[in-house]
Symmetry: C2
Subunit: 470 residues, 2 copies
């Protein structure tokens, strides 16, 4: 009997899928966003999809996988876009999508199972208490809270609350370890850093406690400008208006809005750059006063006064932003790709100007305003009109040489996509929580190759990935 | 028949008080905070206190006062501390305290009559909808919303929302003008600037529409430090933690906390500087993790784990902050006074250090962290161990010479206490709304003396003030 067969025996009674087509489908995420990852990971598949219904079943699966040395890669909705949820060494895809109960809502707090969909949480919190999550990715209507916490970084709402890993943006995580006898740990305060944004490499999250904030019927707004830099200046100023409550501020360069936002096209001209906003309804008077102060700004669309006919078929504004901008672009023009850039405060506007001047329409700008260490600045998710990997690397270098760090979305490891250094806290926790290294293999370089040189320009190639190619 | 007698006839049926003792008492505010104002304004009194029950009565009073050339000075709770609400030329003190209905609460919005007490609004908003005002002065339990909007500038909550005059922090003001036939105007958006913080010199506010935010059972916390600068560094860092929800961050130098906070004395040592905080309950884990990162910080008090015995008799933390620090000081040592300082971003910490070094215990530090144009920085309300006016002016100059603008709390005019320049918008509006100049005379220099030189070091002496001395 093979390891896998023994595993299947051990977890009898828990839902298992072994149809290769379905397993392969459930082993993929949005890795194909990146032409680089598309090539590297296209063949990857797990062996089994296992779908626990509760924490006891998660424990049972991890115990059995540990016993039989079977890798386990946790999966929420599989909307990650760096191959985070892809089982590089095969084994079990642990599908948490059926663990989706919203267990408790109280002032400022929600407790949910890891597989709960973000928009479901908000629907319940809103209906019961006028509250919502502080921030969510643009994949709000599909992504799970566990996947967001393990694989995401921020999104709509980050203009007010910063990034997901900032102290206070997660209250508690309940985590199951990968040991002979799995432990269940409730991590809070400083301990959260052990597993936040660790791609599930050092524990499986079963329950999440998150802060809530007041929910509103956010008004979708699009403001138009003749130049991209006009839109950037507007956004930068807007983000610093303390009394104006917004949830999203995204400048996007022409011609992207017109070319990619097909359902909004009727409101857009090809030469118009825009700022996509979500504004609190009671702030709309102040917001329009702010727009009126700027002779270059033109209000193109606001959902609160749009007719039903105008609104028909429009996606919500947040599905024009963050990586949905890229997604809409890929649908229109599959040859594009994108980057992730930080424009550090206080020189964000000047750096955007410089990069825009250097790269023009080869890299049309898309910024996301956020709070970062207390200051309002912007991330970039610029579209890249892709030619080849060499030129992509040149473009990356050009950003870095101009003081704009890149979080490379064309890498599947934690380090290469992030801070390009070992996260000692996460590594130490992995040593305890996953001594056999079976959780999401290949994603933490510090574990796979302790001597790896992060300052080299080389790409990390996970040896375990070979197996997938068989 | 005198003008006043004719006025009384015209407003028959409206509550009038003319007992000189009571009128004098209702003509005073906290002007005596300032030894300078104490001397200048001690004799000031109105002639009548008129107490309307509704807007129609306000209109009736203003119409009659206009007809008989009687000055009108609006009054909320009289907690202003620059003599704002004092009728320098006598006449009617228009007491709005009986107009205190909370008329509407909906998501993000409250509508209240101008005389509603701030904490009453929050009690109702909290009970009905889990909401509260974004910010309030430390006189929360006594001050009116109309007085706050007309005379205040910010306070507890400004760390999140900036100042009261910032776009979006007031939604709508309903204002009655002082004309032969008074008009009722609803001001919104840009128009709010006409009357916000105008001391009631160009209209009487009858109704206020304010934004609300989520309310929580804020946890009062005191963190102790060996030096004032340690407390400042901690506060500065804390204010920039995007995911940590606090409502108040106030560093206060030793020995003030121990010497002035008598009921909290049991938690304080004389040589300990503190940071007084209000923390969202669900953020306490993250907050204590943050404190633990700082080896110089010591948690001295937290209300969420304090015993009933410990909490007995303690005022809420916000009554240790803003001008309540000064009030508590004055109770212990009537010889002190204070200043109001802005430490501009990004050099706030360095400037505090410099001033502290220069002035030491003659001017013990008290800072209030706030958002200001999107950045976290601090205001100062330092205590001044007062000797004479000359030295006070030297201390003011020393601040200004070190890049720290003073908002002089020892002046009763809008301009001298504020930006030291004409507010053209407010002046233009006064021309229309109060053509005879009867509203709160003497408070707007630009009206009283259009040729006044704001760059001179001289004090403005309102000629109309003479009358009060008769
Ligand atoms: C169009 C588009 C837009 C996006 N916009 C954003 C954005 O605005 N902000 C942002 O941060 N991200 C964004 N992303 C990335 C991704 O959608 C989000 O991070 C999302 O929250 C991931 O949730 P998921 O349920 O799909 O997680 P998955 O993709 O299933 O998993 C993500 C990672 O978490 C791990 N994981 C999942 N569940 C668990 C668990 N219970 N325990 C331990 N590990 C677990 C997986 O192994 C994987 O490494 C976007 C992606 C796309 C395709
Ligand atoms: C101990 C102490 C602490 C304080 N802390 C703060 C603080 O943290 N932040 C802050 O901003 N202030 C503070 N203040 C100042 C003051 O308490 C507040 O500004 C308060 O909001 C004033 O409200 P009030 O009802 O007492 O107004 P009043 O003092 O009655 O009036 C203030 C001004 O507004 C005018 N006014 C009042 N009502 C109306 C109306 N309906 N229409 C037109 N004009 C009107 C008056 O003429 C006067 O000019 C403090 C004062 C003290 C004594």
């Amino acid at each position: 009997m093979s390891d896998l067969e023994r595993l299947v025996q051990d977890i009898a009674g828990i839902a298992i899928e072994d149809n290769p087509q379905i397993v392969k489908q459930k082993s993929r995420d949005f890795f194909w966003y990146s032409p680089v990852l598309k090539q590297q990971l296209d063949h990857v598949t797990g062996d089994l999809v296992v779908t626990p219904r509760n924490e006891a079943e998660v424990i049972q699966v991890l115990r059995a996988c540990y016993a039989h040395d079977v890798p386990v890669t946790a999966r929420g909705a599989g909307t990650g876009n760096y191959g985070q949820a892809m089982p590089l060494s095969g084994g079990v895809v642990l599908n948490l999508a059926e663990m989706r109960a919203v267990k408790q809502i109280r002032p400022g707090v929600v407790v949910a199972e890891a597989g709960a969909i973000l928009s479901d949480i908000d629907e319940k919190a809103g209906a019961q208490s006028g509250q919502e999550l502080r921030m969510h990715p643009s994949t709000y209507r599909t992504a799970t809270i566990g996947g967001f916490v393990a694989g995401g970084s921020g999104g709509i709402g980050s203009i007010n609350w910063g990034g997901l890993r900032d102290l206070g943006n997660v209250i508690r995580l309940r985590v199951v370890t990968m040991e002979a006898e799995p432990k269940v740990l409730d991590l809070q305060g400083e301990d959260l850093q052990k597993v936040l944004h660790a791609y599930g490499t050092n524990g499986v999250i079963t329950e999440v406690e998150m802060p809530l904030t007041a929910s509103y019927d956010w008004v979708d707004v699009i403001v138009g400008f003749k130049t991209f830099m006009d839109s950037v200046h507007f956004a930068d100023d807007l983000g610093n208006r303390d009394g104006l409550l917004l949830k999203e501020i995204a400048p996007i360069a022409a011609p992207l809005p017109h070319d990619y936002f097909l359902r909004h096209q009727k409101f857009l001209r090809r030469e118009t750059s825009v700022v996509v906003c979500m504004v609190a309804p009671f702030a709309m008077d102040a917001f329009t006063a702010f727009v009126a102060r700027n002779p270059r700004a033109e209000l193109l669309y606001r959902s609160d006064t749009a007719t039903d006919a105008e609104k028909k078929g429009l996606p919500p504004a947040y599905e024009l932003t963050w990586n949905h901008t890229t997604l809409r672009g890929l649908r229109v023009d599959p040859s594009i790709t994108y980057l992730q850039v930080l424009y550090p405060f206080p020189n964000q506007v000047e750096r955007v100007r410089k990069i825009t001047e250097l790269l023009g329409d080869e890299v049309p700008g898309h910024l996301e305003y956020v709070r970062f260490d207390g200051k309002v600045t912007c991330f970039g998710l610029p579209v890249v009109r892709y030619t080849n990997e060499e030129r992509l690397n040149e473009i990356i270098k050009l950003h870095e040489d101009n003081g704009c760090p890149i979080f490379n979305p064309h890498r599947y490891t934690l380090e290469e996509g992030g801070m390009k250094q070992t996260d000692q806290v996460q590594l130490d926790f992995k040593r305890k929580a996953d001594p056999k290294g079976l959780l999401n293999p290949g994603k933490m370089i510090a574990w796979e190759d302790p001597s790896y040189d992060f300052s080299s320009d080389k790409l990390f190639l996970f040896p375990g990935l070979q197996r997938g190619e068989s």
